[in-house]
């Protein structure tokens, strides 16, 4: 287990050590890991190449808004699938799978046209609007799968007791599908933190871009400046890692309880 963890940690370690190398050196022959001397100034240099604070705030705002919306929308849609009868249920599942098969590139233009038509094509939260459509049908199917383990009689009894669909979702479905909530929140959080293709096509002004897109443009820096790019990568990866470290305890305890 430890060996496996070390294997997955290796790229992070290479990124961290690379971010401390001295810039403007010839590209190394092979893997030159140990920085000598350690160059902390790479981290302050990142701000010279992109408006780091602004972009980090944009990303934070995006995640804070988009993740809860995604969880609410997809968990409701999942419940709708599970509570639907025979053919309708099959149709909804089929439709979700079909939507999963649509290549992302085919959606870029319709999305821009739609959002521009609505006058919301250029805000830091533009990409968060995808959350209103559940971000991806995969999350909906994930919830449908989680709910399918709840006995159907329980949901029916709740309805017969006079609970509204909202109350069934809030009081019965969500508490019983907590691991799915945590999993979708984690996946959606990671998606919105790291997406760069959606903002590239959807958001007009660079000032409204998320930090992942800023990092993407730094990836084209000259080889001699790669330590600065890697420093930016560490800065962008760190919040996601910290969130994971905090979240993993509750994730595993929820899964174990379930």
């Amino acid at each position: 287990m430890v060996a496996l963890s070390a294997l997955f940690l290796a790229p992070l370690v290479v990124m961290l050590l690379g971010s401390l190398q001295r810039p403007l050196q010839p590209p190394p022959d092979g893997l030159d890991l140990w920085p000598n001397p350690v160059e902390w100034s790479n981290y302050s240099a990142v701000a010279r190449f992109m408006p780091l604070t602004r972009l980090l705030l944009n990303s934070l705002l995006l995640v804070v808004v988009a993740v809860p919306v995604t969880v609410v929308v997809t968990s409701m849609a999942g419940l709708a699938i599970v509570t639907a009868r025979g053919p309708v249920r099959r149709l909804l599942i089929g439709l979700s799978v079909l939507m999963l098969l649509v290549p992302a590139a085919a959606l870029w233009v319709p999305r821009v046209v739609l959002l521009r038509g609505l006058g919301v094509a250029d805000t830091p939260l533009t990409v968060a609007l995808l959350a209103l459509a559940g971000t991806t049908p995969f999350y909906v199917l994930l919830f449908a799968l989680a709910y399918s383990r709840i006995p159907g009689s329980l949901l029916e009894a709740a309805t017969l007791e006079g609970l509204s669909p909202y109350a069934v979702w809030r009081q019965i479905a969500i508490p019983l599908a907590r691991p799915a909530v945590v999993a979708v929140a984690a996946l959606a959080g990671l998606f919105y933190w790291s997406t760069f293709m959606d903002p590239l096509t959807l958001v007009s002004s660079p000032a409204n871009w998320p930090v992942a897109l800023g990092l993407r443009s730094l990836s084209e820096m000259e080889a001699a400046l790669y330590p600065i790019y890697l420093a930016a990568a560490v800065i962008v990866t760190a919040p996601a890692l910290i969130a994971f470290c905090i979240g993993q305890r509750s994730f595993f305890s929820t899964v174990e309880r379930a």
Binding site: V109, T201, S217
Partner: protein, 423 residues
């Protein structure tokens, strides 16, 4: 590369559909409005350091004119994707910078407002500019976009490695045989003599130099002619050079690109345009210069040029033209020339110390200007980006995988000719 082009083509197709519905290209506002300059959006393809140069250009323009510009600097891999999507959705930037090998599809789909008349209104005298890029950016008899640079293919050579190997520095008008001999002499256990990317922009000058052609007609190409005698001989020359072991192996190329191998002394020469200069300047201790391309029969080189285009859907065409006139004018071109990456298209700046100063490497920048009389450009036709991909992929098989040249040339004919004929 192929994926990027495919995405560009996808966006382009959608662009055609949407522009057909919106009918935007016809709604040009030709009457100048006598109000304060509007805020315009300018999209350029630039890496972070290059973006800094364009930011300087924009702030100098804003100071000089009182105009406002939103600069959108997009990475090399994403420029076409964003541009195609933006056009398709009617959200195109007012001005965009594009290479002449990629602009024809945009013109064909009515996305570009011809820049000639717009610049005439700004009083820009085009007499002071080099002819070849102006020709490359003319389509359907009109100047579509205004070139900002006129780069060409040259040989970058490592002076220290030449000295160590006792090889005479490249002379003006050196021959292909001298070039190949130098490559062989420079090849040692650690160093390869020369690196050449398998692409048509690298091969074209040698094909033209040996009297061959890439396509049957530069104006209206209907088929490729790489399999014909002149072109084939030039390509065979490169295959023979690779056969001597003077070029990096496939594994070496996979590990590091040619520019990086040149920086670390793993290759002594490589072919590229002006674009490499800033990165090479930043390498402490690298002693390099540039030389003209070797000649097979007659001198030839290939144009590398980007130009500013105005979107046909822009509501601020005159303000867009005003920005372009500044960017390609004396001050604008001096700012971009000092960045080191461009060869100015304005003659007076190209021949000024801003570009030619020998105190900053490469000392022989004049080589770029000497190549100008022999410059030619690849065909300007909407399917050219796809044709380039086909040729590049096939040449790679011949150069790196050892597939026989004739087999590769046959495959190029089979795949590229239908693209040229528009099928």
């Amino acid at each position: 590369m192929r994926a990027r082009r495919a995405l560009g083509a996808l966006g382009g197709a959608a662009m055609l559909a949407v522009s057909a519905c919106s009918g935007q290209p016809g709604t040009a506002d030709d009457t100048p409005v006598a109000t304060a300059p509007a805020r315009i959006t300018v999209q350029v393809r630039a890496d972070p350091e290059e973006a800094a140069v364009y930011r300087s250009l924009v702030s100098a323009y804003e100071k000089a004119s009182g105009g406002q510009v939103e600069l959108v600097a997009v990475g090399r891999q994403d420029h076409l994707t964003r541009l195609s999507t933006a056009f398709a959705s009617g959200d195109a930037p007012d001005v965009f910078l594009i290479n002449y090998r990629e602009y024809a599809p945009f013109v064909q789909r009515g996305a570009v407002a011809p820049v000639g008349p717009l610049l005439d209104k700004q009083g820009l005298d085009r007499g002071g500019y080099y002819e070849e890029p102006l020709k490359a950016f003319s389509y359907g008899g009109a100047l579509q976009c205004m070139p900002q640079n006129i780069s060409s293919l040259v040989v970058y050579w490592n002076r220290a490695l030449f000295r160590q190997a006792g090889v005479t520095p490249p002379k003006a008008n050196w021959t292909w045989a001298e070039f190949a001999a130098a490559a062989k002499a420079l090849t040692t256990g650690k160093t390869k003599g020369v690196g050449i990317d398998p692409s048509i922009t690298r091969m074209a000058p040698f094909i033209w130099s040996s009297g061959g052609a890439i396509v049957d007609s530069d104006e209206k190409p209907t088929r490729t002619t790489l399999h014909e005698a002149g072109a084939r001989a030039a390509l065979q020359g490169v295959v023979d050079l690779i056969g001597t072991g003077s070029t990096p192996t496939k594994a070496q190329l996979a590990a590091q690109d040619l520019a990086e191998q040149f920086m670390t002394g793993k290759v002594a020469m490589f072919l590229s345009s002006r674009v490499e200069v800033p990165a090479l300047r930043e390498q402490r201790g690298l002693d390099f210069d540039v030389a003209g391309l070797p000649i097979v029969d007659k001198p030839a080189s290939v144009l590398h040029s980007d130009a500013y285009c105005v979107s046909s859907g822009s509501d601020h065409k005159d303000d867009a033209a005003k920005f372009i006139a500044y960017a390609v004018g004396q001050q604008g071109q001096t700012i971009t020339a000092l960045g080191g990456r461009t060869v100015p298209s304005l003659k007076s700046v190209a021949t000024s110390p801003a570009f030619l100063s020998p105190t900053r490497a490469p000392a022989s920048s004049q080589v770029f200007l000497d190549a100008i009389p022999h410059l030619r450009h690849t065909p300007v036709t909407p399917s050219w980006p796809e044709v380039e991909d086909v040729i590049g992929n096939q040449l790679q098989r011949a150069f790196e995988d050892g597939v026989p040249l004739d087999q590769v040339l046959g495959e190029i004919q089979k795949q590229a000719d239908p693209l040229l004929r528009g099928r």
